[in-house]
Symmetry: none
Subunit: 260 residues, 2 copies
């Protein structure tokens, strides 16, 4: 498992929470952030203390994020040094504003951070548990982001909303890494334990399989129906490795032996 | 804001939680599900009660998901009727298994649900807060999904993990609203001739297969090595349809008859 480099651009994403009420939510946010390689947390006029028991319990080891958070009286202060500010908004507003999905947000991140220079930060601003962000606060944001949800039950938990945004940022960062695990390039998505069988090994398997099924009395070559094509299709989809071919041939041999 | 149609295929996704300890997590999962239009929650041997105060508080209005959840003694029972079972796995295992990202999982959903027929369910299985899923439980899954995280702090909260998977499913559902091709969209890229086998049909197949291989003298349960896990993995990749399961069970019956 690779390490997250300390100079990852993920560390330049600031999560800003406005007027949070529940310490447990601050802890949940800290955990979601650290899980996805984000560390910069800013609180604006919190309505609870971020070092309460519930915050530490829900942070579940992301104590460093809690210890290093900053607290601000105004949103403007919390956004110092940020070149792109994105406000999380559940509702449509009277005044339309540029809007992205979380995925579009993530896709724009590398360019925004490059454009902003080495010290630039991108902020994602989240509102109060009950009333969200005010219109004035949303107008501090260049862009709004809306997480599509079930319209009949649309209000995400604060930690869940941060989780979605941080997840999208993290996946984008992964996609931009040029260092690719050289082994994961199998049809199965991960390094495999045995090499795939070759086409000729598979042909030998099918010959052996058919012979054993005839010996077993299960397959009648005079009335083959679609048995062998169906078995071929089944194993073709599975892409057997060499060990699996050996197992299937072992079974075929045992059948032949039993019938001898 | 549009409504979520009650026949959305999102309602055919089952979230399965194995051995959950904290009622608050069950509540958080219920909320994350309902936010994303998922309603089918199954618990396997929970180590807490899903109607405790913390569960209801964290569900925050997703009471209907809690009220309708089902509880099971075994994972196999919770997977009845499911045609695609995906296990959430943080660790790499000794026996490699087909692996997808959450986004790849979502991309495959419409096809999997089409292939399984109208009653088919897709299950996503999540393990215990402390120890995840056992190897045996992971081997009940056709596919594993791994959420990429900060390698130095990789353990997601249970609700957060469900949130990520449900979010990906929901976004995919949204993306597919306008473009519907009901037939070419199976796991195999074309319309299929038989419905996919359900998880319980596959379990019965494995029981029958094992019994016949013991009768054949090929498999020694006292010295099983990795035979059954390897066969499970092979057929998990192939995603057998119902006709193929019938063929394989026919072979197993013929073997038993030959040895009688």
């Amino acid at each position: 498992m690779d390490a997250l480099p300390s100079d990852s651009w993920l560390s330049r994403i600031r999560i800003v929470l406005v007027g949070t009420s529940h310490p447990g939510n601050i802890g949940g946010v800290a955990r979601a952030m650290k899980n996805m390689g984000l560390f910069d947390l800013a609180l604006v006029s919190p309505r609870c203390a971020p070092n309460e028991r519930d915050a530490i319990a829900r942070a579940s080891g992301a104590d460093d994020v809690l210890a290093n958070l900053t607290t601000h009286h105004t949103l403007a202060e919390a956004l110092t040094g940020c070149t792109w500010v994105v406000g999380c908004s559940a509702r449509s507003r009277t005044l339309p504003w540029p809007m992205v999905t979380p995925r579009e947000f993530a896709a724009r991140l590398p360019g925004e951070l490059t454009a902003g220079g080495e010290d630039a930060r991108v902020a994602i601003v989240f509102g109060r548990e009950d009333t969200g962000l005010t219109n004035d606060e949303l107008q501090h944001c260049q862009t709004h982001v809306h997480i599509l949800t079930n319209p009949q039950f649309s209000s995400l938990n604060l930690g869940a909303a941060v989780q979605v945004m941080a997840y999208e940022a993290h996946q984008c960062w992964r996609d931009h890494q040029d260092i690719r695990d050289e082994h994961s390039d199998t049809p199965f998505g991960i390094e495999w334990d045995h090499p795939l069988a070759t086409q000729d090994e598979l042909e030998q398997l099918f010959v052996h399989m058919e012979r054993s099924l005839i010996a077993l009395g299960f397959h009648d070559p005079e009335n083959p129906r679609q048995l062998m094509p169906r078995l071929r299709r089944l194993y073709a989809r599975a892409r057997p490795d060499r060990m699996e071919v050996n197992i299937l041939r072992g079974i075929a041999s045992a059948i032949e032996k039993a019938k001898r």
